[in-house]
């Protein structure tokens, strides 16, 4: 069972909001906190917690600054973050194809 794709899923990345953060940061290269909050439909506190988890794991880097008087927090993916996202997507695809194969062999 160790070869099953579900074993390759990383809980840290697999979580819905964190996978969303990584996906957006990957596509945007650099994303602002408020964009993440709006598009992932989470509270600021919840998003901060997830960002801290990803930052501690070395998957994102967080840059804080000001534009005029407005505080801005920008998030970007690290090299490890890119790798983790790529691996997660690959595992998800393998998992889906495995389920499809099983369904064909054993139709419901």
């Amino acid at each position: 069972m160790s070869g099953h794709p579900i074993n390759g899923l990383d809980d840290l990345v697999h979580q819905r909001v964190r996978l969303g953060i990584l996906t957006i940061a990957h596509e945007a290269r650099r994303v602002e906190f408020s964009y993440l909050r709006t598009n992932l439909e989470v509270t600021a506190g919840n998003l901060s917690q997830h960002l801290t988890v990803l930052e501690n794991a070395g998957l994102v880097s967080i840059e804080k600054g000001y534009e005029g008087k407005r505080a801005r927090t920008w998030v970007s993916l690290t090299k490890d973050g890119h790798t983790a996202l790529r691996d997660e997507v690959a595992h998800l695809k393998r998992l889906i194809s495995q389920v499809d194969r099983n369904d064909k062999r054993h139709p419901p």
Binding site: H4, I6, H14, R16, L19, G20, T23, I24, H26, E27, A28, R29, R30, V31, E32, F33, S34, Y35, N39, L40, E67, S76, V89, L92, K93, L95, I96, Q98, V99, N102, H106
Partner: protein, 241 residues
């Protein structure tokens, strides 16, 4: 897996679909295709005035015996357009980069405009250098085979002209923004610019407005595309503003 139940949040299909949807939303927020198209439409229309007010001079005349006794072909050198286009193109790319960066800050997503701006400036500089070379080596007459294409002198001038520089860089933008629509429009624009297509509208020499149909058609194509993209991207701009 058959015995494991998964919540909707953990369903791999839903997760992948959600990721793709988020990535699409980011791309939409990043796109501002209408702005470069509008800038180049304005530059093309402004080139009508620059070309008309410039004073072309005939240089590097060569006899063309096959066209008849005493027939000559000359290169019409217009200093005004020669100075106008390189400066206008570089300033346009600076303006486009500034616009995208400002928009990126306002929307909270990074921009991918860098490769487009670099490619645009590089193409503009390279084609200007080739134009200068061609200008100093007399009129290109006769036939040329370039990458399997059979070209006559006028075709070569159009290939190294500003419209081609704009179009080639727009192809890079189409790739950067992953926009099939922009790619198709740019291919059409390049076809019109290089072919060249004038839809039957011609101004015969020795009028000073010989260039008018081509610049007007090229500018109109860019303007129409800019308006089309602005209309297509407007609801998204409002939704994500």
């Amino acid at each position: 897996m058959a015995n494991q139940s998964v919540s909707d949040d953990e369903d791999p299909r839903r997760q992948l679909a959600r990721s793709r949807n988020l990535a699409r939303r980011v791309r939409r927020a990043q796109r501002a295709t209408w702005f470069p198209l509008l800038v180049f439409a304005v530059l093309t229309f402004a080139a009508v005035l620059v070309t008309r007010t410039g004073h072309p001079t005939a240089v590097h005349c060569r006899p063309v015996p096959q066209a008849g006794p005493g027939a000559r072909v000359c290169l019409a050198h217009n200093s005004a357009t020669f100075v106008y286009w390189p400066i206008a193109l570089v300033l346009a790319y600076v303006a486009i980069a500034a616009f995208y960066v400002r928009r990126s800050r306002a929307r909270g997503v990074g921009t991918r405009v860098g490769p487009y701006v670099i490619a645009g400036i590089a193409i503009a500089v390279a084609l200007t250098a080739v134009s200068i070379w061609a200008d100093h080596h007399g009129p290109l007459v006769g036939h040329y085979d370039v990458l399997g294409w059979h070209l006559v002198g006028d075709d070569v001038y159009r290939l190294i002209g500003p419209a081609c520089a704009i179009g080639l860089a727009l192809l890079v933008l189409a790739v950067v923004e992953r926009s099939l629509a922009l790619f198709a429009i740019t291919v059409g624009y390049l076809w019109i610019a290089v072919a060249p297509i004038n839809f039957g509208w011609t101004v015969n020499g020795p009028s000073h407005w010989v260039f008018l149909p081509y610049l007007t058609i090229q500018g109109s194509v860019l303007l129409a595309a800019a308006l089309g993209f602005a209309a297509a991207q407007r609801p998204i701009r409002h939704a994500t503003a």
